[in-house]
Symmetry: C2
Subunit: 158 residues, 2 copies
């Protein structure tokens, strides 16, 4: 099942962070939450689930685990640079929810901190110096090798 | 469990699309896949799971279901405007996987179709005419009402 997709980086990404607790843990870490007990309190997540998710995120290179107390041993978890690099995906999910699933009870918006303007999240082309939408996105091999037909099909994107 | 987060739009977003099959279905739809059998073949997903996910996406307003054949009844599924609006989140997840989880076997990049330049996905402030990173993001109420403390805490973001 999923022979093709299981082997794509997207599938591996979703196996690593494609569940709501993992994404909520990463969001809390972006807010500055570091310690196991703080994650548990901030998210209201069952501790066994939190342990499993944090372990997977550490093994996947999204978070790093460092001791902050020896007796008894206690650890803090921080996002690696790869983990911080997930922020555009989180922000996109948060903004979509605010715009499409907000219950109207004092909705929030994500803004540019210094000026308070609601942020825009676009696709930008440095060469054309233009923003563009999803229909202008093409997927291509990063190598110079000619692509196979199957690869070509996989690489019609986003 | 999750008393606080279950009520945020992000939590509702993740309950709707926060699983890898739903995201892969949406990606396939962005590629132009429309019919049940085509989703099943494209994703290699078990048909009962595909049925459940498509139903949830339709009920959630992400996809719309239209008949294309009456005898026997057959339907096609297309993304609503809200569904298409999920593309920044998908692109962010795809790009992260390509950059951080690629197995090195002919990796792909997402590019600006017309010129082939790898796309950049940034946060943009129209007022300041500048791009910025996640640390410059602030969450604030979209209303003019003063925020409650608990709301304030929820709204320290991203």
């Amino acid at each position: 099942m999923g022979e093709r997709t299981e082997h794509t980086p997207l599938e591996r990404t979703l196996q690593l962070v494609g569940d709501r607790w993992s994404i909520l843990i990463i969001r809390a870490a972006l807010r500055g939450v570091r310690r196991f007990d703080d994650f548990a309190a901030d998210l209201g997540i069952a501790r066994p689930i939190l342990t499993k998710r944090l372990t997977r995120l550490v093994e996947g290179g999204v978070m790093a685990k460092d001791p902050y107390q020896e007796h008894p041993p206690r650890y803090e978890y921080r996002l690696t640079p790869a983990g911080v690099a997930l922020s555009p995906a989180l922000v996109a999910l948060i903004r979509w929810g605010e715009h499409h699933l907000a219950d109207g009870d004092s909705p929030i918006v994500l803004v540019h901190g210094p000026c308070g303007t609601e942020l825009e999240q676009g696709f930008w082309c440095r060469t054309c110096a233009t923003t563009f939408g999803p229909t202008a996105i093409r997927a291509q091999s990063a190598t110079t090798q000619p692509e196979h037909d199957s690869a070509q099909r996989d690489r019609t994107g986003p």
